[in-house]
Symmetry: D2
Subunit: 153 residues, 4 copies
Amino acid sequence: MEDRTQYEQASPVVQKRIQDSFDLQGLMSHLGARITHVGPGRVHIVLPARPEVTQQHGYVHAGATSAVADSAGGYAALTLFDEDSEVLTVEYKINLLAPAAGDHLEAVGTVLKPGRTLTVCQLEVYGVRVDGTRKLVANGQQTLIRISRPAAE
Amino acid sequence: MEDRTQYEQASPVVQKRIQDSFDLQGLMSHLGARITHVGPGRVHIVLPARPEVTQQHGYVHAGATSAVADSAGGYAALTLFDEDSEVLTVEYKINLLAPAAGDHLEAVGTVLKPGRTLTVCQLEVYGVRVDGTRKLVANGQQTLIRISRPAAE
Amino acid sequence: MEDRTQYEQASPVVQKRIQDSFDLQGLMSHLGARITHVGPGRVHIVLPARPEVTQQHGYVHAGATSAVADSAGGYAALTLFDEDSEVLTVEYKINLLAPAAGDHLEAVGTVLKPGRTLTVCQLEVYGVRVDGTRKLVANGQQTLIRISRPAAE
Amino acid sequence: MEDRTQYEQASPVVQKRIQDSFDLQGLMSHLGARITHVGPGRVHIVLPARPEVTQQHGYVHAGATSAVADSAGGYAALTLFDEDSEVLTVEYKINLLAPAAGDHLEAVGTVLKPGRTLTVCQLEVYGVRVDGTRKLVANGQQTLIRISRPAAE
């Protein structure tokens, strides 16, 4: 496992805000994904390789790979904004570089260019084996828009 | 529901080949997706809106939207090749145009440019209500590569 | 030549506004490009194939192909806004489908989804021969942002 | 000016092959672009900011920015192949992050994932001032295909 202590942590308040939003994403829990790192402008999400997330050859499906990459980028952006902001994905592009093999995938979203309206993130997904071997399996670029959260319902 | 009779059907052999491959995709059945049309160079996949596929606001997650769009495009390409071919997604780009609301999503993959090595597909995803109202919620473009299927194992 | 009478024309005021902005783009005149159609949400730009726009094999360079596609999409969006608005390209993705051969290229930008802040366009580029034969050589998707024009300087 | 001595140089043979191909690109010389670095899997191209490459606000046009980014990526890939290979751009996606201001642009193409058939590159474009200030103005991702060069004509 990569040494996570090298990455700066976000404040507890921000970490909680990200985790709370993540917990509301039915898809993430249905896929079995979990957040493993929340830093300023950087979020990691792990997706265990299970039969429920595969394509026809037994590798992780590009759609599942993309789903965790998209969420990682979105939450990386959200770490930079205040609690009255939300972010929505405008678009993303992802290259599937290698079969998504490994015991789990690790998606890394990193803010490349923050902005008041639009934020651009880099998306990387690694296939990770139990022995710690890591391989880049997907790489992408994502555009997000910040919106004001609707007043409490 | 849109009138499906307007679309040309693929041959029964091709339809079975596509369905058999789809049935091997653990992710598609885990998400609750099913194929609803297989035509030459065109495949439709329906994804019912359930809590298991949502993001934090209750709309279908961009990752689930992308997953069915990616599969629809891949199978649209596969309809054009013989049984010894498989296709892999090289990359895709998708714009999320509107909140993915509706009772189900319908992803439509259409071959824009077939090729011996590379094929390019258009991806569209509609949010569909029980009353039949349809709205384009995502639009994308996908590049696929044809590979020869490994000899029987 | 395709029959242009089939396309709705924008109002003379909008046509003039688009042409005036186009005339300020040093790159477009340097490349030899010109606007050939301005309709509501749709703009065509023609680029004659000359040695000044080629890549190493004598076809039109992907960069020149992209440049006219990007401008066509941007102006297609601009036709939908009032005179106090400008649009900037946020991002685009383009597939080069075939060698950009022909006597000229015709780039067609079409608004797919207009929006108060963001607009998404489809980009198509055709290689056209003197005999009228047309072939799709590039296809793309573009995101634009509307901004308010700064007050007169 | 950034310290170029930090980057590994390609062999003189490779450097000449890249330069010779670049010199055949009518567009690059028409835009005033030149290669400033050829390393293994990495190529830099500089584009001076001149009225001939601008959009309507006087910044470098997204099309010109993209053109040099696309060429930088293509040549970065080409450095990795033998003399009988050529590369063609399959597709690319680029985000315009900031107005392309500066005295010149520097496009940096870097191979992210080489492959026998497909290669993926990262594209970065910086706006550089005479005083050496650099700002990332565009970031993209590109897919290329290797083809065998036709036998001598």
